[in-house]
């Protein structure tokens, strides 16, 4: 069980055993205002999330520079407009900038047409700021309507990291009742909650975040979990997507935990550290379709539009 199969061995470039993709949600206070509307007008609480753009992005950039690592940063259009020089600086440092909708919306509350407009507005905003149209997309709260895969492809999006259900990349099918879409097949790099910082650390006293006011997790134990998750992904030869938030993991006290984890991972010569764009391009060059019975293909004919109030 320790040796990956021959098929797993040929899975990544240059005989590498696994892929590592570091993704950052540069959401500032945009996501928390959608998630918890009672935050509106509460300067102290909002400053918890605004701290990310103020201080923590710089810490992350310094760490990535030190490690020679490039990450994929997802930025909502509104955050990009509010922090254009910062976004330009991240882009100029060689990182990938991805689209995270225009207003960091919860797509469960939007019709397909509204989702489509949000995508295009953010695409235009980000291209205007960095001079490069994003190839990656993340739905901030994870979902989208049937038919939106088509919108993504037609907007030039090549990869997403929004859904779950696998530990290898997969292709999003176009809804079976819709005509074939233009553009390249859309690759998904699926997420895992245990590889996100937010479930372990997000905190606000009131309005309470998380809702049940759990304790902040032990940094040492979270580092231990991540190391063990890495050992599992390494053993099986998978694609490990880390999902981080500057205001959560880029604090003075937590950045060392991230440094320890990433240094450890990168000390393995058989790890392929890549951006989402690179992994998606690699996957597309090696695969034409999903394995039969893939969850995303099971879902496609059953997927329904969000129940949005008129």
């Amino acid at each position: 069980m320790n040796a990956p199969s021959a098929a797993a061995h040929a899975r990544w470039p240059e005989g590498r055993r696994m892929a590592l993709v570091v993704t950052i949600d540069l959401f500032d206070d945009a996501a928390i205002l959608v998630q918890e509307p009672r935050m509106q007008g509460r300067a102290k609480s909002l400053s918890v999330w605004q701290y990310g753009t103020k201080r923590c992005v710089d810490r992350l950039l310094a760490l990535f520079d030190e490690l020679g690592l490039r990450a994929s940063w997802f930025v909502p259009g509104t955050v990009a407009l509010g922090h254009a020089p910062l976004v330009r600086r991240i882009h100029a440092a060689g990182h990938e900038i991805g689209n995270a909708s225009f207003g960091c919306e919860n797509f469960d509350l939007l019709h397909l047409e509204q989702q489509h407009r949000s995508l295009l507005a953010a695409q235009e905003t980000l291209a205007g700021i960095t001079g490069e149209a994003p190839l990656g997309f993340r739905s901030p709260f994870g979902n989208w309507a049937p038919g939106f895969t088509r919108s993504l492809r037609e907007a030039g999006i090549a990869w997403s990291s929004s859904w779950r259900g696998d530990d290898l990349p997969y292709f999003h099918p176009v809804h079976p009742l819709l005509p074939p879409a233009a553009g390249a097949p859309l690759v998904e790099l699926p997420l895992h909650y245990e590889l996100e910082d937010e479930p372990y650390f997000s905190f606000n006293l009131f309005p309470p975040v998380p809702v049940g006011q759990p304790r902040i997790a032990s940094y040492r134990e979270v580092l231990g979990n991540w190391r063990q998750d890495f050992a599992g992904f390494h053993r099986f030869g998978l694609c490990l997507p880390l999902r981080l938030h500057p205001e959560i993991v880029g604090t003075a006290g937590r950045i060392d935990m991230l440094r320890e984890f990433l240094s450890d991972v990168l000390s393995h010569a058989d790890v392929w550290p890549a951006t989402g764009r690179e992994v998606a391009a690699w996957w597309r060059s090696r695969h034409a379709a999903n394995e039969p019975g893939h969850p995303v293909d099971v879902l496609a004919p059953l997927h329904q539009p969000p129940a949005v109030a008129p």
């Binding site: 998380p210 049940g212 006011q213 304790r215 979990n225 599992g232 059953l302």
Partner: protein
């Protein structure tokens, strides 16, 4: 080894056996409340989160069990069997047992007698069609059942259940009216991976979004549960879920647990059906006594 507690049972197990372990996994996949109310079809993140279990994690678990020569029991809602028959057939092909777990993980305690009968009949037809077998075990989805469920299970040919929480060794559940009985192999929340590792948003679990526990301290808890069960000569089963503890990092946690248990003398690693058969043969007099 510490001394056993005062009321440690004697002679529960075959000669040379001190305690038994019936590893068990609930392959719920995306079934459950959100599928029963239809909301899962608008929630791709949640559907794919659940689907990971039968789609990927079962394969890792089967390799792990083979490495440690451990038999196990998998309780499978038949919607999952219908959707991923190849993955579920591998469970049987590799020597494990399959038991009933509803069709879409229905809460039996909320169903009419007729509806419970329909679910059992539908499951039986699908187990026959896809695997050519008739299960003898049942774990009630979500843990509770109705007053009429025992009779419905017995009429459906079920011989044992692993649904309750209130004991640490098997016992008989009598159906007084017909003189029949089920063997019950109770589980414990301490050995349910939902109590420590499961996490999801929209719908939120845990309800208050408590943190994912440390793998290291979770291993320590589970190891202590086994040590106590073994010391006192009991029967330990698990409520593990492939989508929760069959993920890559957690396979390593289960591996530590299996290695620890394998290193002890006198453990009977058995499928739930074997435990139930032994219990019925060896302790039939108790079944009489409960009538």
């Amino acid at each position: 080894m510490q001394t056993t507690t005062g009321d440690a049972p004697q002679g529960l197990w075959p000669k040379g056996i001190r305690s038994s372990v019936a590893l068990a996994f609930d392959v719920d996949g995306p079934t459950g409340g959100a599928m029963l109310d239809g909301s899962i079809w608008r929630n791709p993140s949640f559907f794919t989160l659940g689907a990971y279990g039968p789609w990927r994690a079962v394969g890792y678990l089967l390799d792990l069990l083979a490495d440690h020569r451990m038999p196990a029991t998998f309780f499978v809602p038949t919607w999952v069997l219908e959707t991923w028959p190849k993955q579920m057939r591998a469970i049987v092909d590799r020597g494990h047992e399959i038991g009933y777990h509803g069709h879409r993980h229905e809460a039996f305690w909320q169903l009419t007698r007729e509806r419970q009968q329909e679910v059992m009949a539908q499951s039986l037809a699908l187990f026959r069609r896809h695997l050519g077998l008739v299960p003898t075990g049942f774990r009630t989805p979500s843990g509770d059942w109705g007053d009429d469920t025992i009779e419905i299970l017995l009429d459906a040919g079920v011989r044992y259940s692993s649904s309750m929480r209130g004991d640490d060794r098997p016992y008989f559940i009598a159906h007084a009216a017909s003189g029949r009985s089920l063997v019950e192999i109770p589980g414990r929340w301490e050995l349910d991976d939902y109590a420590s590792l499961a996490y999801q948003r929209n719908p939120d679990y845990p309800a208050g979004l408590d943190r994912i526990a440390s793998y290291d301290t979770t291993f320590d808890n589970w190891r202590r549960e086994f040590d106590g069960s073994h010391r006192d000569g009991l029967c330990m089963t698990t409520l593990f879920h492939p989508k929760v503890s069959g993920k890559p990092g957690r396979i390593l946690l289960l591996e530590r647990l299996l290695e620890h248990m394998r290193a002890q003398e006198g453990v009977w690693f058995a499928r739930c059906g074997e435990i139930a058969d032994w219990w019925r043969e060896r302790h039939a007099a108790d079944a009489e006594a409960t009538r």
